[in-house]
Amino acid sequence: MAQRGIREFDAKRMLARSLPHYLDDLAYKGEVVLVGPDTDVEEVVALNSWLLRKRLVIKPDQLFGKRGIHGLILLDADWDAVKEYLAKNMGREVEIGGVIGNLTHFLIEPFVPHENEYYVAIRSEYSSDAIYFSTEGGVSVEENWDRVLQAQADIISGIDSGAISAIVPADLGEERQKVIEFISALYLFYVDCGFVYLEINPFTITDGTIMPLDMVAKLDDAEEFWCRERWLDLSFPEPFGRTPTPEESYIKDLDSKTGSSLKLTILNPAGRVWTMIAGGGASVIYADTICDLGHSCDLANYGEYSGDPNTEETYHYTATILDLMTRERDPRGRILLIGGAIANFTDVASTFKGIVMALREYRDRLKESDVKIYVRRGGPNYEQGLKLMRSLGRELDIPIEVFGPEMHMTRIVPMALGE
C-alpha cells in the first residue's frame, strides 16, 4: 500500500466523470484515448469519431514528465499524422532522466489552441493539503516559482472560498470567479477520489471553458475500497523503464490476494546473493548490510514477506526465488539468506514449513548451483522452525547454517559473504 502514479489518461477521465459533482458548468468532456501496444487503432477510431474530425495532440503516457523537452509531443496534428507518429514511436527505446525504457502507451486528445496557461497543483502534507496556483503555468512554472501562490486546506475543516480567492490574482478579470470555482471543486474532487498529488499544468480557458491540457496525479492505493467506482477501471502502471518480470507480476498477484505482505523486486538476475527476509523493516536492513559490505552488485533481489503468511503462500514465494536463483550458475556458487528479526506474532515454524517444502522440491537444482543457505530468525515457535531447517540441511545434504535470536540479526551477511 503506497502512493501510486496514474496515467494522465485516467486522471483526465476521472476529472471529466467526477468533477461535475462539484462544479455546475464543466464543459470538459474527457475526450481522451489511450493507445497501448495491443490496441486496435481502427476500433478506437470507430468508437471515437472525433479523432477524424478534430485537430489532435499525441504524447507518451507513462508517468514521466518533460515530454515536450524530449520532443515527444506532437501538437495540432490530423489523424494521419498521429498514426505516422505511432508507427514511428510505438515500442521505441528512449532515455528519460537517466532511465532507459520503451514507449508503450500514448494519450491522444483534441488539440486546444490557447493563449493563457495556468498552473494548479494540490499536495498532501501532514495536517493540511497545500493548494498552489499561478497564472504563469506551463513549462516555465519552476522558473517562475515566485509567482506561485499557496493556500492551505486544513485536513479536518477544509478550506473556504475566501482562502482560495486569495491565491487567484485580481487581474484575471472576468475569468477570476471561474477559476476560483474550478479550484474549489478540484479540491473536493482531490479529497473524495483518494488523490495524494494532483497537478494540472497547464490548464487554459477558451471561450469561457476550462480545459486541462496536461495532468499529473498520484493516488493512495489504500483508498481502493472507498474509491473503486470513482477510479473507473484504472490500473496502476509500473514506473517508466520498469517492466515487471513474470515472477514479479506473479508475486504481486499473490500479494493482492492475501492479508499478508509478499514483495519481490529483481535487481540483478545474475546476482550471487538472494534474500528472503521477513518484515518490511528488517528486509531494508539486510539490503543495507549487503551494500555496506560492498556487495551491492551481487545483490539479486529485494523482497520481504510479513503479516503471518500461511504455509502455502510462503511455499510459492520461496519456490519463485529458488527457481530464479538456480537458472544460471556462478563459479563462486550462490547464497540464499533466509533472514528476519524476532517476530511478534508471525508463526516461524509454520512459515518455515512452506520454505522447507520449496527447498526440498528444488534440492537438485540447489546442489547444481552450489547454493549455500544462511538462516537467522526468532519469534513464536522459532525453536521448532530452526530445528526443521537444521535437519533439512542434513536430509538434503545442502549447507544450511541456522541461527536464532542469540545472533545479531545481520551477522549472517558477513558470514555468508566471507567477510
Binding site: 493512495d220 489504500a222 520498469r242 531494508v284 528479526a341 511478534n344
Partner: protein
C-alpha cells in the same frame, strides 16, 4: 496516577477492539509475569457479540466483559484510558475517531495495515487537537516494560523473559518498524539494563504520532536515561528530531540509525516493504538523515551492525557517570504452558473421555472403519457395505450387504396409516420442520410398532439354542402368556401370504449357506397357523431370524458378536433406518401439498367423563 509524559503504566487499563483471542491472552500473560495487580484489559469491544470472554490469568481463569460498542464500554469503564484497536483497515478510521471522542480515552493504538493516508492524517490531527495520542496505523504497538503491553508486541512470553521486558530498564526506544521493535528489545537487553518503554509508530507515511513525539516523552521521563531510535528512508520525521536536538529539546543521549542506506545503489523505483519507505528527494535518503543526526549530536553508528555496540558504549558512559545502574532481577512467575501447545510438543498426556472405533475424519481422507471414502465408492460397497463398516466394523460379503439393502427397501414404507407415518404426518401438518416431524415418527417405533425384530430374533434364538422343540417353545410361550414376537399379522394369513416375507425367504434360500433358524421359525409357524390362519411368521420375525442366519452363514461373526448384535438392538436399527426413508417421504409429501393442521374429529372420540357425583 499517570504523568503527562506517560502513555501507560502499571495501573493503565485498556479496551481491546476486535475479538483477538491470542492478543488478549498475550496481554494478560504479560500482566501476570509483570506482577500487575489487575489485568490491563478492562473489556473487549466486539461489534458482533456482547457478553463475556473467559481468559487465563496465570493458571486461573477470569471473565472479561465484552461490549458491542465503544460508547457502551466507555460508559461502564470511565477509568479506561487506552484502546488497542484491531479493527480492519476498513473500519480502523471510524472506530479510532469514535474512541478519540470518548473523554476518558487518551491513547489509541491502531494495528491495521492499509489505512488510507487521508484517514491517518485526520486521526493524527484530531488526536493532536485533543491532546491525545494515536500510535500507528500499521504497527504492532509498543510496551512499557513491567507495566503495559499493546497487543502482540514482543511476541511470546519466552521472548519477553529473554529480553527482560517484565521489569523496567532505562532505555526509551522508538522505531517505525513493528518487526524491528522486537529485534531492538533483544539488542537493547543485551547491551544495557534493558527497555523502559518501546514504541513502533508504524511504517506508513503519516503515523498518528511521530518518533519525535515519543522521544520528547522519553526526554521528560526521569526514569529514562538513554534514548534510542531507528528511522527509515523517506519522509521528514528524522529532521524533526534533528531540529529538536539542535534546539536542545533533547538532552539525554540519543542513539539513532536510519535504515535504507542501500537505496542509493539500488534502482530508484524500489518501493521497500513499508509504504512510507521511499526517498523522493536527496534529503529523504537514509544517508542524508544519518549525517544530519550525527551533526546534530546524536550517536550514529556506521551501520546497523554496530547499533547494539553504540548503545553499549553510551550506556557504559551513563553507568560511569552514575546516571544508570544495572537492575536487580525480580523473580518472574512462570506462565503455565498452554494445553494445546504442550500436547502438540508431546510434553504431556491425558486420558481421553471418548473413544471412537468406527470412523476418522482427521486425516486427508475420511475413513469408515479401515476404508477410505474413495475406496468405499470405488469398490461399490453401497449402503449395505457402508452399514457393514460402520455398524459391524466388517467388510460384509456382497450377498450380505445386498440382504441389508433388501431389508431397507422392504421396510422403507408401509403406507400413511401405520402409526409412525401417521404421527410424522400429523406433526408435519402442525407446521413442524422436517427433523421434528421425522423425530415424531421415529419415536413411535417400539414394542408394538416396528420394534419386534430384536425380540423375535432373541426369542427364536433362545428357543433354538436351548434345544426346545417347536412344540415345547409354543407351549412355553403360551404358559407365560406371551405372544411369540414375530408371529402374527393383522391382515395377512396363510391364504393371503405377505409378499415381503416371501421375497426375504427366497433371497435367503438362494444365497445363505444356512437357514437353520428360519427353518425352525417356519416349523413354529406351522404350529401357530394350525390354530389360527393369521399367526404367520411376519416381516419383523422373518428379518430377525434371517439376520441371525446371515451372521452364521458368512463366518465373520463370533458367537459373542452375534449375541451382542441381538442384545444391543442392531436389528431394530435396521427398521428405524429403512423407515426413515418413508417417513421423510410422507413429511415432504404433506409439505408439498400445503396440508393444514390436523384435528381429529370429535365424533370419532367417545367422551366418557366421570359424572359429577362420581368424583
Amino acid at each position: 496516577m499517570r504523568m503527562e509524559y506517560e502513555l501507560f503504566n502499571r495501573e493503565t487499563t485498556a479496551f481491546v477492539y476486535g475479538f483477538q483471542v491470542n492478543a488478549i491472552q498475550r496481554m494478560l500473560d504479560f500482566d501476570y509475569i509483570c506482577l500487575r495487580n489487575t489485568p490491563s484489559i478492562a473489556a473487549i469491544i466486539n461489534p458482533n457479540q456482547s457478553g463475556t470472554h473467559k481468559a487465563f490469568w496465570g493458571a486461573e481463569e477470569i471473565l472479561l466483559p465484552m461490549y458491542r460498542t465503544i460508547a457502551e464500554a466507555s460508559a461502564d469503564h470511565s477509568e479506561v484510558e487506552v484502546m488497542v484497536n484491531f479493527a480492519s483497515h476498513r473500519s480502523a478510521f471510524d472506530t479510532t475517531m469514535e474512541a478519540l471522542k470518548q473523554e476518558s480515552i487518551h491513547t489509541v493504538a491502531v494495528i491495521a495495515e492499509g489505512v488510507p493516508e487521508r484517514q491517518a492524517r485526520i486521526m493524527a490531527t484530531t488526536a493532536r487537537k485533543l491532546g491525545k495520542t494515536v500510535i500507528g496505523p500499521a504497527t504492532v504497538g509498543g510496551l512499557v516494560a513491567g507495566a503495559f503491553r499493546i497487543g502482540n508486541t514482543a511476541g511470546t512470553i519466552e521472548n519477553i523473559v529473554a529480553s527482560r521486558l517484565y521489569r523496567p530498564g532505562c532505555v526509551g526506544f522508538v522505531s517505525k518498524s513493528g518487526g524491528m521493535l522486537n529485534e531492538a528489545f533483544n539488542i537493547i537487553s543485551r547491551n544495557s539494563n534493558g527497555i523502559f518503554e518501546g514504541i513502533a509508530v508504524g511504517g506508513d507515511r503519516y503515523p498518528g504520532s511521530t518518533m519525535l513525539d515519543h522521544i520528547l516523552r522519553f526526554e521528560a521521563n526521569p526514569k529514562i536515561a538513554l534514548i534510542a531510535c531507528l528511522g527509515e528512508l523517506g519522509g521528514e520525521d528524522e529532521y524533526r528530531i534533528v531540529e529538536a536536538l539542535k534546539k536542545g529539546r533533547i538532552r539525554k543521549p540519543l542513539v539513532a540509525w536510519v535504515t535504507g542506506t542501500c537505496a542509493s545503489v539500488l534502482p530508484a523505483s524500489v518501493q521497500f516493504g513499508h509504504a512510507g519507505a521511499k526517498a523522493d528527494t536527496q534529503r529523504e535518503t537514509a544517508f542524508s538523515k544519518n549525517e544530519a543526526l550525527r551533526e546534530a549530536g546524536a550517536h550514529v553508528p556506521t551501520s546497523f551492525d554496530d547499533y547494539g555496540e553504540m548503545i553499549r558504549q553510551v550506556y557504559q558512559e551513563l553507568m560511569d557517570k552514575g546516571l544508570a545502574k544495572d537492575v536487580e532481577e525480580p523473580e518472574v512467575p512462570t506462565i503455565p504452558v498452554d494445553y494445546s501447545k504442550a500436547l502438540a510438543s508431546g510434553m504431556i498426556r491425558r486420558p481421553t473421555t471418548f473413544i471412537c472405533t468406527i470412523s476418522d475424519d482427521r486425516g486427508e481422507e475420511l475413513l469408515y472403519a479401515n476404508k477410505t471414502i474413495s475406496e468405499v465408492i470405488e469398490e461399490g460397497l453401497g449402503i449395505g457395505g457402508a452399514i457393514g463398516l460402520l455398524w459391524f466394523k466388517k467388510q460384509l460379503p456382497d450377498y450380505a450387504a445386498r440382504f441389508i439393502e433388501l431389508v431397507l427397501q422392504i421396510t422403507a414404507d408401509h403406507g400413511p396409516a401405520v402409526s409412525g407415518a401417521h404421527n410424522a404426518i400429523v406433526a408435519s401438518c402442525a407446521g413442524k420442520d422436517l427433523i421434528s416431524s421425522l423425530a415424531s415418527g421415529l419415536l413411535t417405533i417400539g414394542p408394538r410398532f416396528g420394534g419386534a425384530i430384536d425380540d423375535a430374533a432373541r426369542e427364536f434364538k433362545r428357543a433354538y439354542e436351548t434345544d426346545l422343540s417347536p412344540e415345547e417353545f409354543v407351549v412355553e410361550m403360551k404358559r407365560k402368556g406371551i405372544n411369540i414376537p414375530g408371529i402374527g399379522h393383522r391382515i395377512k394369513s396363510v391364504k393371503n401370504p405377505d409378499v415381503r416375507v416371501q421375497i426375504l425367504v427366497d433371497y435367503a434360500r438362494r444365497n445363505f449357506a444356512t437357514t437353520e433358524l428360519l427353518d425352525y421359525a417356519q416349523q413354529v409357524e406351522r404350529l401357530t397357523t394350525a390354530k389360527k390362519g393369521n399367526l404367520i411368521l411376519n416381516v419383523d420375525g422373518c428379518i430377525g431370524v434371517l439376520f441371525l442366519d446371515l451372521m452364521s452363514s458368512c463366518h465373520l461373526f463370533s458367537k459373542e458378536e452375534i449375541d451382542q448384535v441381538v442384545r444391543l438392538g442392531y436389528l431394530n436399527g435396521l427398521f428405524a433406518l429403512g423407515r426413515t426413508i418413508g417417513l421423510i417421504g410422507h413429511i415432504l409429501d404433506q409439505k408439498r401439498l400445503g396440508a393444514r393442521l390436523y384435528r381429529h374429529p370429535t365424533e370419532d372420540i367417545t367422551y366418557m367423563l366421570p359424572s359429577r357425583d362420581g368424583i
